[in-house]
Amino acid sequence: MSGAAGRLAPRALAAAAVAAVATVLLPVTLVAAISVAAASRRGWQPGRLYRAAGWCLPMLVVWLAASVISRHSLAAASPQLAWLALGRGQYLTAAVLIAPLAVPAGLLAGGLAWSFRLASMAAQAAGRSPAAAVSFDDRQWRHQVRAAKALIAAPGAVPLLTHGGDFVAGAVIRAVGHPARALTVLPESRLRSHQIVIGATGTGKTTLLLRLWAGYLAAARRRQAARMAGPPLIVILDCKGGGDARRIADRARRVLRSAGAGNVAVWPDEACLSLWTLPARQLVSTLVDLIEHGTGGAAYYTDVMEAVVTLAVEAPCGRPSSTADFLARLDPGWLGLAYSAGGYEDQLALARSAARQVPDVALRFRTLFRRLGPGLDGPGNFADADVWYCILEGTTEVAVAEAQARALVDLLASFVTQPASGPQRQILLAVDEFSAVARRLPIWQLYERARSLGLSVQVSAQSWHGLAARQDDRYRLATTAEGGIWLLGTPHPDPVIALAGQRASLDTSRQLAGRLRWRRHGSSRLRDKPVADPNRIRAFEPGQAAYIHHGGVTFTQIKRLVAGPAALAAGPSSERTLAVAAPPAAPVLPGDTVPPRDTVLPGDTVLPVLPDVSGLLDAAFGPPP
């Protein structure tokens, strides 16, 4: 008993001393208590209280200066006067007199106390039980989320770009290994690096992507205005397709227009690109790659196909100008005639020896182009719009989407490598739902040489496994994402979190003294734990994301960009509805029968029958040529 009393006595004495000091410095104690309560309630870090104390310094200086001037002494009389006022019941006077000293001191003390509390809980050394640390962390997380949501709900609190041109993603919930700020601010250069976005359906991935694209565009416009770079171009490959993709395309169009996009082309619904503008060598490679071919014995047919395609593309009369033109060349007679002019003996011999296989090659390409549709048959190229939203039907027709993605990336690579007359364009290639086309789209090849060409690549997927078919490829993508990885709610975040690294933390154990009672004795050890808590990421609400970069993580509440209103549809009778950059009809191939078109596809607009003006024009200029 005496031993217990001996142990308790110093504690009681210490508590009494603290209580005495707190009573003597009651105003400071009050401010400290309020600041700690506020920090706990709002999920602030101690640094915020320190900064608040720092902002009070001018007040302190003025107060001291006033004291010096009035009393010719640095020993201010305000504390004594405040106590006297308090004794007389003049509480407001007392508060005013003591505030210049008590507020900064209280904030400082509160910050220190809050820092001590956080460190104790992180080391699991505080609280009645070891589990208290877990519930404390959960509670703090809820408070931090609430504060972040309140911040992004405030109008104008989260701009797209800062004054310095850096990108703002949203409000910081919690930062580990990154600066603890109110807003998640990324240097603009990160947007121009490769990035990865992983998030399951319904976790806010589209909201984040739209914000990233808008941020890229707005930042690129600033660089263009400062003559630091050429105009921006964003190419988005939506590999999911379907009606959902078209809704997102419409939203993207409105958001990006607000961010500075002059025109947004939706491929293939509203605009086309021309595969036939590729340089001849590249065109051959792309055409051959569009067709899936096997290995082993099938390699022979691949070689034959490549030879035939080369003959058709590199004919003396120039490369084909359209699908129909190309298919017309896949004919032994045409090839023989094309190379019969003299000087092409080798090609002529090749054409004759491959004559038996040419119809088979033609059949495969005819089938391919029928499935690909008219979107790659031109006219048009990437220079025609600031943003290309390309919809690939990766859900319903994987093989077609793969071929389209391959062709579009080849077109973009060719476009990027074209010598530019002005400053280098800033180009972002964003591939959404990459897993749908990952099998035949070696996007890391672009990763390797993209930076030097001014091209940034952004890949998004629903899960880690959706990033690529093979583990090697996934790691290859993830480890080269210099711009960081955005992780939204996903059931398997562990591989990405492992890439973020670990940090040292204190792990404290306590002795169990009885049923739900722990002694204050125990031991602590340093151990490494993941920078980001995987369970926290699994439990993300929609709109929450973890930004992983350079061994740190910033948990962010993403600010949703509000798009402008959708364009009103033109009236059926009084207003004219004219096609806007509509794609041409599908090429009618030899032997095709044109199916009746009785359905209106999304993006289709109805062409009115224009009145005949040929009489007027004939009278003025004569008949058409």
């Binding site: 169009r253 227009r257 002059g262 025109n263 509203e270 021309s274 503008t277 100008s321 359209s322 008219p374 031109g378 006219p379 048009g380 190229n381 025609d384 364009a567 009103l568 549809a569 033109a570 207003e575 004219r576 509805t577 004219l578 096609a579 806007v580 950059a581 509509a582 794609p583 041409p584 009809a585 062409l607 224009l610 009145p611 005949d612 003006v613 040929s614 009489g615 007027l616 024009l617 004939d618 009278a619 003025a620 200029f621 004569g622 008949p623 058409p624 040529p625």
Partner: protein, 246 residues
Amino acid sequence: MTTAASNDRAGLLFTAEMYGLQLDQLAELQGGTMRQARALAARWASAGLADSAVLSQGPPWVWLTRAGLQACGLKYAAAPPALGRLEHIRAVTAARLALQSVPAYRDGGAYWRSERRLHARLGSHRGVRDHLPDAEVHWPDAPASGAPPDWAGECWAIEVELTPKTVARTTSIMRELLARTGDYGCPAAEARVAGLPARHARAVYLCSPAATGTVVRATDALGSLSARIAIRVLPAAGYLPARRPP
């Protein structure tokens, strides 16, 4: 006297809108002879309204001075026609004259909105990607007299093609013209708005023989939009004498 003054005014406005014109075109505009046109130009020059010089093969060119432009109430920059554009200016002027000579054009009350006017409207806001047509022809919904033509209310883009561009570039220009929804000089966000009616109901291409093939191929490549492109041959009077095709 009143008719002469009216002709003078119309001639001055025409000359101002077209940057300048050659005397044979001025004569055609006034419905007179070269001698009358020369006298008219001399009268304008003596009044300080116009200037005249031989800038190319063929008759002298006449253009308005600052005083002439002010007299017309136009705030264009006063300068002689650019030497590099003389061919093009003559071709566009010839196209306008040919169109004006058709009764249906006059009866429909059509208004020729020149490239110079469009350019002045854009001012310094012209983006590098904005392509200006050589002119717009606006057809009022209801002309001052007579029945409106079937195409009343339409706005046409006029393009004069003397030298062939690439098919891709020509197609791109055609698509831009046909997709545009906003007036020139409007905010960029309104230039092309999906769902709004297109500004140009159709585009009329007047081509030299050299450019015709390219324009035809570009039109074919447009697909369904090609219905809104009309192609005609540029009148013979649209060429400078030395460049006139056989």
